[in-house]
């Protein structure tokens, strides 16, 4: 089946009830009350984590790789909503199946907002996108260009950005999943070269897991629709330094859990001793704005 801009638009207009509920809940800070699984009375904090993944990391078991354990941990840390991608989207090629599983799992944990996987190097990827929009009412998609084998100047990537923007979804680009120095010998992937984003940056884009450095961060800082997460921003003053480089409205909290320990990112933010206004944007408002477009 061919998949065109108009079809995506129709699917978007046919939003499922779930999206409306989540959007409303995020906007009012009452995500917890929607959950069927004991997230009641958790409205004191309203941290939104824009970067978690469900299911199994392919190379080892992780302490929080069961969804119930993950959401319980997030809740204990005051994280009331999370953008959830799928580890299965990194290596598996049956994208439709894995997005089905992700949507199904998130349906049981309403605080999780499913973020579908798309691999534009696979035949029929447009149908996978259509499924994310029409069948699962997803708000965004997550890309793994290094694991899927394309550069960000690839015409299919550019087409994907345009289709996603037309559907009013956002795109998360996982610039890194694992430090190249610790990857398995027989499955090594370099960090994604983000340079082509300077030219190709349609729609709402968030870069995940990147450790900003050099002139590239300055170039990307000048592009208003490109956003960032803080999951791997290191150095004791790294988050504070990032806020001096990139407008604070475009940096969102993320943990990269359960691959990384979620406490790490939280403590790092605390360590940066940000003013309350910046903290509110980073931990909550920017993600809300990004989610709702």
């Amino acid at each position: 089946m061919k998949f065109c801009h108009e079809e995506i638009g129709q699917a978007t207009r046919g939003m499922m009830k779930r999206r409306t509920l989540i959007q409303s809940a995020i906007a009012t800070g009452t995500v917890a009350t929607l959950s069927p699984s004991a997230w009641a009375n958790e409205t004191e904090l309203d941290i939104i984590d824009t970067n978690v993944s469900l299911f199994r990391w392919p190379f080892r078991r992780l302490p929080l790789d069961e969804t119930e354990l993950l959401v319980t941990k997030l809740r204990s840390l005051g994280i009331t909503a999370a953008f959830a991608g799928s580890f299965e989207g990194i290596l598996q090629r049956d994208i439709s199946s894995l997005n089905n599983r992700l949507a199904s799992e998130c349906a049981d944990f309403t605080q999780l907002i499913p973020i579908g996987s798309i691999n534009p190097n696979l035949h029929g990827w447009e149908d996978d996108l259509k499924q994310c929009v029409g069948d699962h009412d997803m708000r965004g998609i997550r890309l793994h260009p290094n694991y899927h084998g394309y550069e960000l100047d690839n015409p299919r990537f550019v087409k994907l950005l345009n289709l996603v923007a037309d559907a009013k979804l956002f795109v998360q680009i996982a610039a890194v999943i694992e430090d190249v120095r610790t990857q398995p010998d027989q499955l090594r992937v370099a960090d994604v070269d983000l340079t082509p984003l300077i030219e190709n940056h349609v729609g709402r884009i968030q870069i995940l897991n990147w450790r900003p450095r050099g002139k590239l961060v300055e170039a990307l800082a000048g592009i208003p629709n490109i956003h960032f997460d803080v999951s791997r921003v290191d150095q004791t003053d790294g988050v504070a330094a990032l806020l001096k480089t990139i407008p604070e409205s475009r940096i969102m909290f993320g943990t990269h859990a359960p691959f990384l320990i979620p406490e790490a990112s939280l403590i790092r933010v605390h360590e940066s001793d940000l003013p309350a206004s910046s903290l509110s944007l980073l931990m909550n408002k920017n993600a809300k704005n990004f989610l709702t477009g």
Binding site: L77, T182, R232, A264, I267
Partner: protein, 277 residues
Amino acid sequence: MSDHDGTSFGLPPAEQLKSDRVWDSYFLPSYKDFEGDMKRSQRAIEIGNIEKLCYFAHVGIGTTTDAAFEKSRQENPDSVSAPLKRWPDKLLGMINLNTNDVSTSLDALNRWIRDGQMLGVYFAGGGPGSLPCTHKNFDPLIERIAELKAVIMQHTWHVTGGKTSPGHSLPSELAEVAARFPKQQFICAHAGGEWEKGIRAVRDSPNILVETSGFDATAGFIEMAVRELGPERIVFGSHLPSRSLGTELGKIVGASLPDESRKLILGGNYRRLLRRE
């Protein structure tokens, strides 16, 4: 802002951290701006309730590529231990040795450990003073360090794709060395970086402990280290300020551990090594 299990932004309550008595075995202020990096690290030190931090002094024996700095150190040796005088309640010190210059390094051991306040030795993984730890030049140095009952912190990284510099050491190489010096205690800095291999490499070397800093806060590290090595063979390092308290303390406080194990890792084991209990 605090959440519902008594923690604040991922940190345990301050009372718990104080009770844990956090001693940092791997503090990395720049020799070029020690004072500045102390200030830069201050907030992390405070909110982490870190009691003591151990830095690695360059003592003017060719362990940097900065000729002016090396000359300055030689002309003003008091500058080596100046940080210990400036922050006597906070800092501990070890010295970098130049394994390419054994004679001068042996003199430095006497000067700074036997006759000074330094507690041990840092063998770096790069720079002009470094060699792989299996090099024969290490033997006389380790023998003397053992006589002085000092501690050895050996930089290690198992980098996928192979070594990255001539002075690079692997955890498996440290295990070889440790087998030849069974009475000497070694700390395997960064647990080898790729810790799943690093832990396995040193598992059968009871005189090697692993240090926890220097890589992302990858989940499962501490749990595997405790399972394979026991909590007595793990020491906390902060890698401040070039890494964050979040990354490094997060590894320990975010792990599923009994209280006693956490206390050992955060400070008890290191104090035992330094004979400061």
